[in-house]
């Protein structure tokens, strides 16, 4: 994931308590975003904010997880909702997939 020069991203590495809320853990499918060397970091953050309605801090946390760890689990959802979110992310040309949660 490349960093464009005029960056406005100011990473905040504080743990976001909302990320692993019980609501996120209820359902059985994971929405996963994968790293690639083409999507801009600011763009990925924007897409997360737009698709999930997240605040910037949470979107940046997941963007950095994608960038540094190769992937980030964005949501745990029902099959239908997971499909919906994957479709939304792919409309923005992010590399997103869904997978069955093995937990």
């Amino acid at each position: 994931m490349p960093i464009a020069a005029p960056t406005e991203v100011r990473p905040d590495l504080e743990q976001d308590a909302q990320t692993d809320s019980s609501a996120d853990l209820e359902s059985g499918y994971l929405v996963v975003c994968w790293d690639d060397p083409v999507n801009l970091m600011q763009y990925v953050t924007h897409v997360f904010q737009t698709v999930f309605g997240w605040e910037r801090k949470k979107a940046e946390k997941h963007m950095l997880e994608v960038h540094e760890q190769g992937r980030s689990v964005l949501k745990r959802e029902s099959l239908e909702k997971a499909e919906f979110y994957v479709h939304q992310l792919q409309k923005y040309t992010l590399q997103a997939t869904m997978e069955r949660d093995s937990k």
Partner: protein, 162 residues
């Protein structure tokens, strides 16, 4: 291209003639990412996987057609670009900024795919020839416009606009 005004509904930019030509060229390249590029899942644990994959591709194709219509309408709209001493002034609604971002990024990713999806930054690829150079330039031009649009979108969020 620089943002000169951000309102709750629209964002206004000043754009030079060269930038306007580049933007039009970029938008006309859309779409570049093949319809079957995206996969719903990487494993086989998804029910009705093939059927759902087909639904995904249909959905993405429909969205591309819609964006393509937006592009054509924008490029052919009389009065969209208003001449000014620095070039032109153009305003985009916040929903237009979203599909413009999708279009620019599709062209950027499609150019990257055409380069063979290099793991390293394309600017430092060995053996650059005129054709690969063209893809690299398109990627950089797309990134330039994306950053302007992202800045505008961010300004809307910071001032409380959805």
């Amino acid at each position: 291209m620089k943002r000169i005004r951000s309102g709750p509904q629209r964002v206004q930019f000043e754009i030079s003639q060269d930038e306007k030509n580049l933007l039009a060229h970029l938008l006309r390249l859309y779409p570049l990412v093949p319809a079957n590029h995206q996969r719903l899942s990487q494993g086989r644990q998804i029910p009705d996987r093939e059927e759902n994959q087909q639904l995904l591709e249909d959905s993405l194709n429909a969205q591309r057609q819609e964006n393509r219509k937006h592009v054509e309408a924008m490029l052919n709209e009389q009065g969209r670009f208003v001449e000014c001493p620095a070039g032109s002034r153009v305003s985009f609604s916040r929903s237009e900024i979203e599909w413009l971002l999708q279009v620019c990024n599709d062209v950027r990713v499609g150019s990257w795919l055409a380069l063979g999806s290099p793991a390293q930054h394309p600017e430092i690829l060995p053996g650059v020839d005129p054709q690969t150079a063209q893809h690299i330039v398109i990627m950089e031009v797309a990134a330039f416009f994306e950053m302007q649009l992202l800045s505008a979108a961010s300004s809307g969020r910071q001032s409380g606009h959805a």
